[in-house]
């Protein structure tokens, strides 16, 4: 098992068998990421795909700190997942092929490495996975 660290403390509950995104509430309104000093709220782990796109080119770096190169960059899909009654949350998806995504499909939170440091440490962030894909794998 490689060494792992999270990209940011306070973003999601970790380590956890069933991790959740950490939001906050002020005057009845939810915010993600959580705003310092506000009451924290754990968001639902499942929602439906609201809309999506792909990132086909390597984002400008900095701020992006993936350990890939423009040539080796692996495109990913991203967009919004609607957590019913809570928020639309923007996220990267584990499925990168847009033809295998559809609006309304069920998505579940997962924690994935998005880059590996020179010393081998995996850096973890949150993503959403299609529930069907998860069941099949």
């Amino acid at each position: 098992m490689p060494q792992q660290e999270v990209v940011s403390e306070g973003l999601f509950t970790w380590p956890s068998e069933e991790p959740s995104l950490i939001a906050s509430r002020r005057d009845g309104e939810l915010s993600f990421p959580a705003r310092p000093g506000d009451e924290t709220v754990l968001l639902s782990r499942r929602g439906t795909l609201w809309g999506f796109t792909t990132q086909q080119f390597r984002p400008p770096s900095p701020p992006y700190d993936g350990n890939d190169t423009p040539e080796a960059f692996e495109p990913y899909a991203l967009g919004y997942v609607e957590l019913p009654g809570e928020l639309l949350v923007q996220a990267r998806f584990t499925e990168s092929d847009p033809t295998r995504l559809r609006i309304g499909q069920e998505m579940e939170l997962c924690i994935v490495p998005y880059t590996i440091r020179p010393d081998g440490t995996e850096v973890l962030t949150y993503a959403f996975a299609p529930v069907d894909e998860k069941a099949a794998s």
């Binding site: 990209v7 940011s8 973003l11 939001a23 309104e29 939810l30 915010s31 993600f32 990421p33 609201w50 809309g51 999506f52 796109t53 792909t54 990132q55 086909q56 080119f57 984002p59 400008p60 770096s61 900095p62 701020p63 992006y64 700190d65 993936g66 990913y76 899909a77 991203l78 967009g79 919004y80 609607e82 957590l83 019913p84 009654g85 809570e86 928020l87 639309l88 949350v89 923007q90 990267r92 847009p98 609006i103 998005y114 850096v123 962030t125």
Partner: protein, 381 residues
Amino acid sequence: MTDVAIVGVGLHPFGRYGDKLCLQMGAEAAQAALADAGTEWSRVQSAYVGSYEVSNPDAVVSWLGLTGIPVRGVFNGCATGGTSLQMAAQAIRHGEADVAMAIGFDKHPRGAFAADPSVIGLPAWYGRTGMFLTTHFFGTKIQRYMHEHGVSAETLARVAAKNLANGSITPHAWRQKQVSVEEILASEVVNYPLTRYMYCGPDEGAAALVLCRGDIAREFTSTPVFVRAAELRSRRYGAFEVTSPSIPVDSAPSPTVDASRAAYEVAGIGPDDVQVAQLQDTDAGSELIHLAENGFCADGEQEKWIADGATEIGGRLPVNTDGGLIANGEPIGASGLRQVYEIVHQLQGRAGDRQVPGNPRVGYTHLYGAPGASAVSILSR
């Protein structure tokens, strides 16, 4: 309320200019606008100067002349040019100036805009994990819109082809080459479903306007164009906006909708009266969505509008007759003033090969940009 007229417009064409100073381009555009108005910088009593890359854009007065007038730097994201126009018009209405200028310029590095997320108050992880980009917002917004309102990828490509065709007949456009709908659809995807030719690119350039009190406009030109409305709005809670890690489930309209409605109300002019428009086309999807958000058609009607050629020169509402951002690129500080430059040329009947037929009297400009601001103007003879 005091009438405000635009009596001179100037442009330093957008593109790539090597080592040429951004401020030099701004000065040349300002001089061109002054020459167009048949006047001189010494007559100008107030100026608003917009730029993203130049931190002290008022340095342009080193070229124009150190006359001591109030000069204010403006930055308001992609809505900067419209903001400069609005502020210059306000300076005249408030009585600070009889003659004012709005000047804008920029010189961006190649590629997608890159910044640290802290500049808009977002945490570092948002940038580190590859989320802090404006381009994928546009991909997500049009993907959802196409699903909800039955807009096809071919329609996206037709918008890009129309703007590139308009660029090919615009002598000052950056992109002068027509590209077919098939080639646009087959070009590489940048952010699904948007392909390379459907996006504008950041570049360099400048634009400038000379404005004055309406009652003295004919001292400068026989064909003044009046600012009937120049409105600016920021986003409301719930609006679906660029660079948002989360958005409320209950949505609010885009700031474009708010700015547009305000402009129609101030002007006493409705969308059916507009004869030529400039709509923010960061990408082809944005232009389609902005047709509806600015009140020109209902959501979903774009499919038929575009199939019928309604937004082409000669159609019922020609849009982005100079090729828009797709053919001209986007030097942020100047882009909105380039829109006004084009509308003024159209209303004065001097737009050459791209002239809208029928002697148009009413034109419209629209900007939208990060982190959720929109500027709309309504101009008429």
